[in-house]
Amino acid sequence: MEYKSLELFSSGNLSSQKKVLLKLNQQTSRYGLSLSEKDITELVTKHTETLKKARRIDFAGEILPKLIYAFCDSPYISDDEYLDTLIELTELFYHYKNECMEILSDDELVGFMADKFNSNCLGNLRNLADTLEEYCHSIRYGDSSGDNDGDYLEEDDYE
């Protein structure tokens, strides 16, 4: 079935999404971060493109607010790179949501991303991607109980 056909059923009310994201500026501005209307339009557009690339359908429209909440207090994000960071975090989120084969909930994945970004990864998105790669690998092929700090089961552990 074509993606376009099922898009009909996604949580597609663009203007209400934008209103929600604009309102979030009230919270994020405390940390020196805010998105202009133009930024929000671009973020929402990129979100749609990312969903299409990841071949997923968003039926609840919750991820952008969740990412914004989780990362707005990060010491590693400045206002001038806020939008680009959010776009990349959105891409990472959906890519690894697929990679972990729906085992992790949205909250678990966003929480893991924020935790690692602000600690081990020192605000570096490439490091975050590598950490997510290891984590999802361990979920698919080894320990699926949660955070293993990048360690996955050695062969001996299966005996």
């Binding site: 079935m1 074509e2 993606y3 376009k4 056909s5 099922l6 898009e7 009909l8 059923f9 949580s11 597609g12 969903l51 071949r55 997923r56 359908i57 968003d58 039926f59 609840a60 429209g61 919750e62 991820i63 959906y94 949501k97 697929n98 729906e102 909930s105 949205d106 909250d107």
Partner: protein, 290 residues
């Protein structure tokens, strides 16, 4: 966005004004499926959820005849029908499990094990259109693939019951001799057990001989060849249908469903019977030593 393309593929179109209701049902199903843990799903899963909803709506339409019924009501009605069909299937399975034919083969036994798993594995809530088991045993008249999910399953069980009814009219010994004449590997092959039994009993009925004998002799073949000498196929078809009626009377079976099913099989068999006249019905009727 108005795109009805996803509503095609054999399903009646849902009116534009009901698209929003369908959207709400799908979103609700997705939320239930993910138990609120995810706000998105892979497209393939959403497609399957949507197919499940459409299947349910289609069943619901068959009961709610009112043209003004909204999609939500039709869907709820469909869900009740799915539940009812599942209960009916459980009943059929129970009866089938107590009325196997005297002789079976590996394909039948393996398939029956699978059939018994169906009620546990069937997901009537999210994927009612799916058949979560493997069905290898082929019926004499296969169920149309246009049927899905529980509808397919119920129809399969119904036809299996109808076929087993004939097989149960004969002893293990006679059936074994016939099936061995049909194929010495009948136990290992993916063959339908009913077919050779029905073919022979139908032939005996055509000849107005006792069908419980089950065996077709050389002279029987000659007599059958004479019977099929008519050129007009409707005459041949009528002969077969009368033979089905006679067969059931002789076996003491009074069932319109059986008569209808066997008559349909007989009609399907006619081309094969007609084309094998010159080869003395090799591969159609079977001879074994009594």
């Amino acid at each position: 966005m108005n795109d009805n393309s996803l509503l095609h593929s054999g399903y009646p179109e849902i009116p534009e004004e009901q698209i929003r209701s369908l959207q709400n049902i799908l979103i609700r199903q997705a939320k239930l499926y993910t138990m609120g843990d995810s706000s998105s799903l892979p497209i393939e899963l959403m497609e399957e959820l949507l197919l499940g909803i459409r299947f349910t709506i289609d069943l619901g339409r068959s009961e709610l005849k009112s043209p003004s019924a909204d999609i939500g009501s039709i869907y709820k009605s469909g869900q009740k029908i799915v539940a009812r069909l599942l209960e009916s299937a459980k009943g059929m399975l129970f009866r089938l499990s107590h009325f196997h034919p005297p002789i079976t083969n590996r394909s039948y036994r393996d398939t029956f094990s699978e059939l018994e798993k169906f009620p546990r594995q069937y997901d009537m809530r999210f994927f009612p259109h799916q058949i979560p088991i493997s069905i290898d045993y082929q019926l004499s008249l296969p169920v149309s693939e246009s049927l899905q999910g529980i509808s397919f399953f119920c129809e399969y069980l119904r036809r299996l019951s109808l076929e087993n009814a004939l097989c149960r009219c004969f002893s293990f010994g006679k059936l074994k001799r016939l099936l061995t004449a049909y194929s010495s590997d009948y136990d290992d092959l993916l063959v339908n057990l009913f077919d050779p039994i029905f073919q022979n009993t139908l032939a005996l009925s055509l000849l107005k001989k006792e069908v419980r004998g089950l065996n077709i002799s050389g002279s029987d073949r000659a007599a059958l060849a004479a019977l099929f000498s008519e050129r007009i196929s409707t005459d041949r078809k009528n002969k077969l249908h009368r033979a089905v009626t006679r067969l059931l009377i002789e076996l003491g079976i009074d069932s319109p469903a059986l008569e209808s099913y066997y008559a349909e099989i007989a009609s399907e068999m006619l081309p094969r019977i007609s084309s094998s006249v010159d080869t003395s019905f090799q591969g159609v009727f079977y001879t074994f030593s009594d």
